[in-house]
């Protein structure tokens, strides 16, 4: 007990001490409230929303494995974020200039109740830190869709830890920290089209290919579509925090991000439904849920830069491309991206990132414009940013996968896969038959 008290006193002393000197920027209560609420909204996207969305899509025997993976990702990545993740990602003092932050903010040393000098000047530094922490959580959780129903739980833990350290933190640093080389190049990524969706989407493609297809003779239908629909609706809800919260203030940009998030998702849903109707002759719930996520992923990088008309176009086009990817291309290439993490997040994120370079308009934020506002350079910068992160995530994920696979193996054996991950990894079942 004495030790705990001592440690607590130590941490309080270090966090409080950091703000003893220098001028303290003013905290805006409305901004702070909005960022904190948005943080909770983004947390909501991982643990219940994504878990239900993915959980409904798998077989009955694997439902708990998905819920467990999402829940534990929230917990482990949160801890990792506080320990070193935030510092490596956002510290403005580089460990490797432009590439990775140093350990100045490790264990939140100096990250306190006053605003940071580098980020979100009107909210407590702690609230910026935790808001970003929820992004660090959901990104590896998105990849779960690719290797669903066949990865060992223990190996999964190593995977998300290494992936956070070696892929997420560097990429977040490049794009979002004031020291990042892509940030300095002018890459625009409002809420994570590159850092979250391209990054996780490419990792999903790599892991899906490397772990191999699931063993089955015939594909099965999702075991609980109501879960998936509820999950998709909850993701949409959480996405308001994800995108509008990324304004880091309760202002007009936040309102714009909120509105375009909604319109892009709506337009993507309508397009996917019509495609389903023409191509497979019935409008499906799985289709509109998938369409919503595609539209939301696509508007993410653009939300703070584009107007509402552009957002309708972005959502619709993203839906069309993701549809082609998921329905036709995936089958042709034969990789088993079980829950379409690449087809939806990767492709949606990529399109949105490029669309930002086209449709960004000074009418939303005066400093940023895209090709239609005469700034053709922005389009090339967006291509470069998306390309660099695609290449890096591809290579780094492959190396991490190979490393873990060589040491402890990532895939369960055939018997465990047939019996199901719930029983073999967790000794529990999602459902009973009698009682």
């Amino acid at each position: 007990m004495k030790v705990i008290l001592f440690l607590a006193a130590f941490f309080f002393a270090t966090t409080a001490g950091a703000f003893a000197q220098g001028d303290v920027p003013a905290i805006n209560p409305a901004d702070t409230a909005w960022v904190l609420i948005s943080t909770a909204l983004v947390m909501f996207m991982t643990a219940p929303a994504l878990a239900l969305f993915y959980g409904g899509l798998v077989k009955r025997k694997n439902v708990l494995s998905i819920l467990m993976q999402c829940f534990i990702t929230l917990s482990i990545v949160s801890l990792l974020w506080i320990m070193i993740g935030y510092s490596l990602s956002f510290s403005p003092m580089p460990l490797i200039p432009g590439i990775l932050g140093n350990f100045d903010w490790a264990f939140l040393k100096g990250v306190g109740m006053n605003p940071s000098a580098s980020y979100a000047p009107t909210v407590p530094h702690l609230s910026f830190m935790i808001f970003q922490g929820m992004f660090a959580v959901i990104t590896p959780a998105l990849i779960i869709g690719a290797f669903a129903e066949r990865m060992k739980f223990s190996s999964f833990l190593f995977f998300i830890i290494l992936w956070s350290l070696l892929v997420y933190y560097p990429v977040a640093h490049w794009v979002w920290s004031t020291d990042g080389w892509l940030y300095k190049m002018g890459v625009l990524d409002f809420a994570g089209g590159i850092v979250v969706h391209i990054n996780a989407g490419i990792a999903a493609l790599v892991t899906a290919v490397m772990i191999g297809k699931r063993n089955y003779l015939k594909p099965t239908v999702p075991h609980n579509m109501p879960f998936t629909m509820i999950g998709a609706a909850m993701l949409w809800f959480g996405w308001f925090g994800f995108n509008a919260g990324s304004a880091l203030a309760a202002n007009g940009v936040a309102a714009n991000a909120f509105v375009v998030t909604n319109s892009a998702a709506s337009s993507a849903v309508v397009v996917w439904m019509l495609l389903d109707w023409f191509i497979i002759k019935k409008p499906t719930t799985l289709g509109i849920a998938t369409g919503a996520i595609a539209g939301l992923a696509a508007i993410t990088p653009a939300a703070g830069y584009v107007g509402v008309c552009a957002s309708i176009l972005i959502g619709g086009v993203a839906s069309l491309f993701c549809y082609i990817m998921v329905v036709f291309v995936k089958g042709k290439f034969g990789y088993d991206d079980a829950l379409d993490a690449f087809g939806v997040h990767g492709i949606g994120g990529f399109l949105g990132t490029i669309a930002t370079g086209v449709f960004a308009t000074p009418a939303i934020q005066a400093a940023y414009s895209g090709a239609i506002s005469g700034n053709l350079k922005q389009l090339w910068v967006q291509f470069a940013g998306a390309g660099v992160v695609t290449a890096y995530s591809f290579i780094a994920t492959a190396v991490i996968y190979k490393l873990i696979d060589m040491i402890i193996g990532l895939r369960v054996n055939d018997h465990e896969e047939a019996v199901g991950l719930d029983i073999t990894q967790h000794d529990e079942r999602g459902y009973t038959i009698i009682e």
Binding site: V419, G420, I423, H426, D427, E428, E435
Partner: protein, 113 residues
């Protein structure tokens, strides 16, 4: 006419179905059931397999066939379900007195096929 009832491991259902189709047996009713055999629910692998005490989750197949198809059906089930472990299941074969196809009101062997 016979009715063949088989109790198999849930994770072998896909293989058993596949073997039955290969043997041209396309009529099957499947249900999820609980039960145990002589080992009183001692399972070779996982505690979580059990529910309601020592009962284990199994799949029950019902297949009505004419005499010529009895052996092929048994062979197909064995091929699909046999791993060689305790808990692989059992096959029961009953005589079937009558069979009526509801749509046409046909009776007997024609009604089965």
């Amino acid at each position: 006419m016979r009715i063949i009832i088989a109790i198999i491991q849930p994770h072998r259902l896909e293989q058993v179905k596949e073997e039955l189709y290969k043997a041209d047996i396309n009529l099957i009713t499947v249900s999820e059931v609980l039960g145990h055999g002589r080992q009183m629910g001692v399972t070779e692998v996982y505690r979580g397999n059990k529910e309601t005490g020592n009962l284990l989750r199994k799949i029950r197949l019902e297949i009505a066939v004419n005499e010529d198809f009895v052996e092929p059906t048994i062979k197909a089930i064995l091929k699909g379900a046999k791993i060689g472990n305790v808990g692989d299941g059992k096959i029961f074969i009953y005589r079937l007195d009558e069979c009526v196809r509801i749509r046409t009101e046909e009776r007997g062997p024609e009604a089965i096929g």
